[in-house]
């Protein structure tokens, strides 16, 4: 089995559009959450969100969307894109530049593309609404490719002329973790030399507000404390979207072209709760087994893990499950440092796993641990878990990134300092 390394990162996130900004905001615990007008207008009890700076995709017509000037999109591409497709193009172009990959390397049949997104509820609604009101003949011919789950794969694969494996992953908030894990295995098995992995999610009324009726969004009016995983008084998650792209390559290929990887992506584990369609297992059973599977797959001792980027979304129930799972695998008072960067970003759904894995990669390269911000009163369940409140300078050898999705899917990814 070949080693797999991370050689490029690209961000279109609420913490910024370039690495240095993301790094400094992680170090300084500066969140990306604000009172968000389109939510306020609905008067639905949800007031804050974490939009992506430099993008405004609220208009019905994609040709009215605002995105960074450097991003060049052909009109016929733009008309077939959902909001998260625009973020995805931005993040991928940044990641390819970061990895120093030329066009012919991207077009090589040994280069693939895996994506994670839930499709686009806003484009789906817009297009179906037009179909019902004006008839199927009046639908945009690109309505389907802009709307359905898979839109990110179709659009990026065609525009970047990808000739290797292409696929999309849909497991709600574990999606981009599955995309990363599957991409890693494809390279480790020698089937591909390089896979571009992109996770993305619309930030829109249509994507975030359906969570209102599940009673899982924070009703807070204060952007500075709304998202506070592991705090005793947490009251739900804050929605965000965006895109993160990560370039995975076989270590020997990356070495041969003289790049310095961020990390070695050592392996991963997954397991399911077998419990509930939406809620996590109260004791974090599936997540605990996923962490154990990840340790087994990478032959890493629990004591060697230096940091866990927790899934913790700031919901009352979910955070407790995860704390229990961590204690079960590592033992109370023996856990690695743990934090949830969702305090700064909110919950990015399909995007969250790859975004947080990318944060781990930045933290490994820059020698720090991002803090778990906004905790005033630590939840009593966190007793015996080493929660880092503020970011600290610390070089660790091994990091873990946890993610859990609907249906009880759990994915745990392990990154280590490059060899």
């Amino acid at each position: 089995m070949r080693n797999v390394v991370v050689t490029g990162l690209g961000f279109a996130s609420c913490l910024g559009l370039n690495q240095s900004e993301v790094v400094s905001r992680l170090k300084e615990s500066r969140h990306g959450i604000q009172r968000y007008e389109p939510f306020l207008k609905r008067e639905c009890g949800v007031r804050v969100g974490a939009p992506i700076p430099g993008f405004d995709t609220t208009a019905e017509d994609p040709e009215d969307w605002v995105y960074p000037e450097g991003l060049k999109l052909r009109l016929d591409v733009l008309r077939g894109l959902p909001p998260h497709g625009v973020y995805g193009f931005y993040a991928l172009s940044q990641a390819l530049e970061d990895a120093g990959l030329a066009r012919d390397q991207v077009n090589d049949p040994r280069t693939g593309l895996y994506t994670a997104s839930a499709g686009s509820p806003s484009r789906m609604y817009y297009n179906l609404d037009r179909m019902i009101r004006f008839g199927p003949q009046r639908c945009s011919p690109l309505g389907i490719v802009a709307s359905i789950a898979g839109t990110l794969t179709f659009n990026l694969a065609a525009a970047y002329k990808i000739k290797g494996s292409t696929s999309g992953f849909v497991s709600a908030c574990a999606s981009s973790g599955h995309a990363l894990g599957a991409a890693r295995d494809e390279i480790a098995l020698g089937r591909q030399d390089r896979i571009l992995v992109v996770g993305a999610e619309d930030f829109s009324v249509e994507t975030i507000l359906p969570f209102v009726s599940m009673r899982v969004l924070s009703p807070s009016d204060d952007p500075d404390t709304a998202s506070r995983p592991f705090d005793r008084d947490r009251d739900g998650f804050v929605g965000t979207g965006g895109a993160v792209a990560m370039i995975l390559e076989a270590e020997e290929i990356a070495e041969a072209r003289g790049t310095t990887p961020y990390t070695r992506f050592s392996g991963w584990g997954q397991a399911s709760d077998g419990f509930h369609v939406a809620a996590s297992h109260p004791d974090g059973d599936g997540l605990a087994r996923a962490m154990q599977n990840a340790l087994d797959a990478t032959a890493i001792e629990p004591g060697a893990v230096g940091y866990i980027n927790a899934h913790a979304t700031s919901t009352p129930v979910g955070d407790i499950s995860e704390l229990r799972a961590i204690k079960r695998v590592f033992g109370a008072h023996q856990t690695p440092a743990v934090s949830s960067t969702k305090a700064l970003t909110g919950h990015a759904l399909s995007l969250s796993s790859i975004m947080e894995s990318a944060f781990c990669n930045l933290a490994m390269r820059h020698g720090f641990l991002p803090g778990s911000a906004h905790i005033s009163h630590l939840d009593f369940e966190a007793e015996g878990v080493d929660i880092v409140h503020e970011s600290v300078s610390r070089r660790v050898e091994t990091m873990m990134s946890n993610s859990s999705g609907f249906g009880g899917a759990n994915v745990v990814l392990v990154f280590q300092q490059p060899g």
Binding site: E63, R74, L75, D76, R79, Q137, R138, S140, P141, L142
Partner: protein, 289 residues
Amino acid sequence: MKTTANETELRDALKRCPPQTIEAAVAYRQNKDWELVPTIVLGIIERFVEPEVRPTVRENNDSTRLFEDLGIDSLLMVEIIMLVEETLDISIENEELRGLRTLGDIKSYLDCKIRGLPLPQKQKSLGFEEIAAVMPQQHPFLFLQESRLNHDYAEGSYRINGDEAFLEGHFKDNPIFPASIMLEALGQLAVLFLLRGQNEMLQEQVDPGRIFFFGCDGVRCHRVCRPGDFLHLKVKLKKVHPPLAFFEGSIQCNGERVAFAEEIALTFATTAPAAVDEKIHGSNGTHLP
């Protein structure tokens, strides 16, 4: 009130089109003046294509090709047609769209459609492989890369690659496409018309092995063509008197006249047993049936 609401909706639908298109569309809704249609349609096309090809649309050249010159693929065509339908309040069948390859095709199609005239005869497009499959001439002496056959004329094109063997000597260090080969290219397009065209003057299947040059008249060349030039060829059927068929031919490049032939005559034989070519080419035993 209703008109105002409709006009607002129309202006909104056309908001990314040039101003003259919007005004023409508003006026058309009231007076149904079909002379406004080209302005409306060109403006809608301009709105959908990439910014860098918009000047080409504005040139309003009938021979501008939708796909090759403007990048309009079948999905983009659907978007254009939807807005045209909405603006002109007409309905266009998918079947009718096939065969529309140039701005001129679209304009004449819509002109007929709106004025209630019979639709232009659907043309038949042939790609290089299809052409090569039916033509007696073959590489390296086939000067036709794609072609469109209409009722009484055919259009085709040939791009001078620069690697044609004869350019090495015509002329040395100064490659110019020979006028005789231009005439040959027109002749080949006429051959293709005889083989694949559908015209009531050609009742029987023409034998590809028995079409030959007979004569030409009134040939004029206006400019030289070099490697990289794109030749737009056109032959128009004038009359058929078996075993002869008479065409008029012309070549353009970048909208400029290149060559013109008042008359190109070919002899042909049909696949039905006949002795026509014996009369013309009496002693040529290899072509006897």
